[in-house]
């Protein structure tokens, strides 16, 4: 461990120590959800969960497995993280700053970022039992679609149906409307579970930040529940094979049920 120069005494005072050999993965994931200035960091035994919210309508969570020692803790801090080769994140507890030790080529940089009281993240109450429709797609095909979406459209309409058009992304822009249809038997479609036809619209401005996570991911799970709430879950595989997840929850603009 490049940061082993820290003494045992130093280490003991922290209630949270998270270590990464390569901070780039963390950096990329955090960039994928950093559409607001502040993020809530939640450290558990299983890893780090970082939450960013927007206008009570959108929530993004990043789940990162890091070597974590210490207690369950939660704090809020700036979501921009400096990238370096090796990273150790340490936290003394309530009121203390988040200390980042960044090491590259023998040079250690110490960053202390002030923490704040975290607000309770919104509970979108999105649970598996309420899910009406679910598809899992390979990200490549969605990446292309999202890069071509008509940005003059205020909404992105998602139609999921057990029959044609199966899975459809629609935009309504200045020059007309556009539809992207993914058939259920496409080889890009890994899972297709749609129980009933649902059409929902989501503000394009809310979904736009999710394209960063999409760019990093190799698979995407798209789920809607009975209320029309949207859950996008992105599976991100790091260079070293480690898996992280980023998920987005978005509430619908209008609910149209056919």
């Amino acid at each position: 461990m490049p940061l082993s120069t820290q003494s045992q005494a130093d280490i003991d005072q922290y209630i949270l120590i998270a270590s990464l050999d390569n901070a780039r993965n963390l950096s990329n994931i955090l960039k994928a959800i950093s559409f607001r200035d502040h993020a809530i960091f939640n450290a558990t035994q299983n890893g780090l969960k970082v939450t960013v919210e927007d206008s009570k309508c959108l929530q993004a969570n990043a789940f990162i497995q890091v070597g974590v020692g210490g207690q369950l803790t939660s704090f809020k801090t700036q979501s921009q993280v400096c990238v370096c080769t090796a990273l150790r994140m340490c936290y003394n507890g309530y009121g203390y700053p988040l200390t980042l030790f960044l090491e590259e080529g023998g040079v250690v940089t110490v960053c202390k970022i002030n923490t704040q009281e975290p607000e309770e993240p919104i509970d979108f109450d999105f649970c598996s039992t309420n899910v009406t429709n679910k598809v899992i797609l390979q990200s490549d095909s969605l990446k292309e679609a999202f890069s071509e979406l008509d940005m003059t459209s205020e909404v992105l309409q998602i139609t999921m149906s057990p029959s044609h058009p199966y899975f459809r992304l629609s935009t309504f822009g200045n020059s007309g409307n556009a539809h992207y249809d993914y058939p259920k038997d496409s080889d890009m479609m890994e899972l297709f579970q749609c129980t009933k036809i649902q059409t929902n619209r989501y503000k394009m401005s809310l979904l736009k930040p999710s394209t960063k996570a999409l760019a990093l991911s190799c698979k995407v799970s798209v789920r809607t529940d009975s209320r029309g709430f949207l859950s996008l879950q992105y599976l991100v595989r790091n260079d070293d094979g480690q898996i992280c997840f980023v998920e987005y929850y978005c509430c619908p603009d209008e609910v149209e049920e056919e």
Binding site: E144, G176, N177, H179, Y180
Partner: protein, 373 residues
């Protein structure tokens, strides 16, 4: 209307549209007898481009039942259908263009790999036929070269250069940047390239001459020519007359018609080593046409403003405003090209003649009472 393009032709279609976007902001679409015509014109009417795709270009070509169907739409909307140009040939298997006249929508459907279907329903406007009048056969000077030669030549000029001058003698071609008369010649950078006639596939110079036209629009054609690998032909006469750039193969024909600066100076007869003194006050494009009987003399002043509210107005003041919006050549230098008559029916020609004498416009919607929108 139902046209289907497959395989590599989808990319050719996309490139044609991309090329047309370098000329004007609107795409005019008209199925004609010989195929599908895609056209564009710049706001000052000094550049016109037309791609004619024969029925053989398509896997399936069905013209609309309404013979007189013509429409136009913002070219950006159509370009948006063909984003990711580079990967088009890898991802798109088929492109289908259909007309939904009840809803005034043009539907372009891309059938892509992995079963992905992209459907674009674009709204359009009815319009008149857009057709510049030109005759390649009557041009005294004809050059033909591989696109690579032209691209490499044009590369030497900065992207910001607006006009380029082409001069020909019996065995040489010069390409140089056009510098304003009032520009400080000690500060202006002058670039000149000389090409021997041997570099051209075809070199027929009737008379030594020199023409100046807009480089940006030439580049628009070269973008297409280079990707298609087809040779580029240039037809031109005297300064003031248009230069026509043409790319042809068995299933398509592209013509870019660009206005040139008119020259009053007698020096224009010789292959110039010096820069010609351009007389900016008289801009004249004379194009003889026999399609408009009754048309006597071509006006020597810029055409008068028309009554309609479209942005293609011809008043000089408005043109100069639009110049800021459009990126075409400075309008004050280039006169508008002659455009063909609005409707082919002879009965209407006498009416059209009176108006088009000054107007030179063909897609003047408010004049045509029979058009329903």
């Amino acid at each position: 209307m139902d046209c289907v393009a497959t395989g590599g032709n989808v990319k050719v279609l996309a490139k044609a549209i991309h090329s047309l976007s370098r000329i004007g902001e609107e795409l005019y679409l008209e199925p004609v007898e010989d195929g599908l015509a895609l056209r564009s014109v710049n706001s000052s009417r000094s550049a016109f481009a037309c791609f004619l795709l024969s029925p053989l270009f398509f896997q399936r070509y069905q013209a609309p039942s309404d013979q007189s169907f013509r429409c136009k739409m913002p070219i950006k909307s159509v370009q948006a259908v063909f984003k990711s140009l580079a990967s088009l040939d890898r991802s798109v298997e088929k492109c289908r263009i259909q007309l939904n006249s009840e809803k005034s929508r043009l539907t372009i459907t891309l059938h892509c790999k992995h079963g992905l279907l992209k459907t674009h329903n674009l709204s359009y406007q009815d319009c008149e036929s857009l057709q510049a009048v030109f005759d390649k056969g009557s041009c005294a000077n004809v050059l033909q070269a591989q696109p690579r030669l032209m691209v490499d030549t044009v590369l030497h000029f900065p992207p910001s250069l607006e006009e380029v001058n082409l001069s020909v003698s019996s065995d040489r071609v010069w390409l140089r940047n056009h510098v304003e008369d009032d520009a400080d010649s000690s500060r202006a950078m002058l670039t000149e390239l000389c090409l021997s006639s041997e570099e051209f596939d075809h070199f027929a110079v009737g008379s030594q001459t020199s023409v100046t036209f807009c480089l940006k629009e030439l580049r628009g054609l070269l973008v297409f020519a280079e990707s298609s690998g087809l040779p580029v032909s240039m037809y031109f006469d005297e300064p003031g007359g248009p230069v026509i750039l043409s790319v042809t193969d068995s299933v398509l024909e592209a013509n870019f018609v660009l206005a040139t600066l008119s020259e009053d100076s007698p020096d224009s007869e010789q292959p110039p080593d010096d820069f010609m003194s351009d007389n900016m006050d008289s801009f004249l494009i004379a194009m003889e046409t026999s399609e408009l009987p009754g048309l006597s003399h071509v006006p020597t002043s810029p055409p008068r403003p028309t009554n309609n509210n479209r942005k293609h107005s011809f008043s000089e003041e408005e043109e100069e405003e639009e110049e800021a919006l459009a990126e075409g050549p400075p309008n004050k230098k280039f006169c508008s090209l002659f455009f063909g008559s609005v409707l082919p029916t002879p009965s209407q020609l006498p009416n059209q003649t009176m108006q088009s004498q000054e107007m030179l416009a063909s897609d003047s919607e408010d004049e045509n009472q029979t058009e329903t929108s």
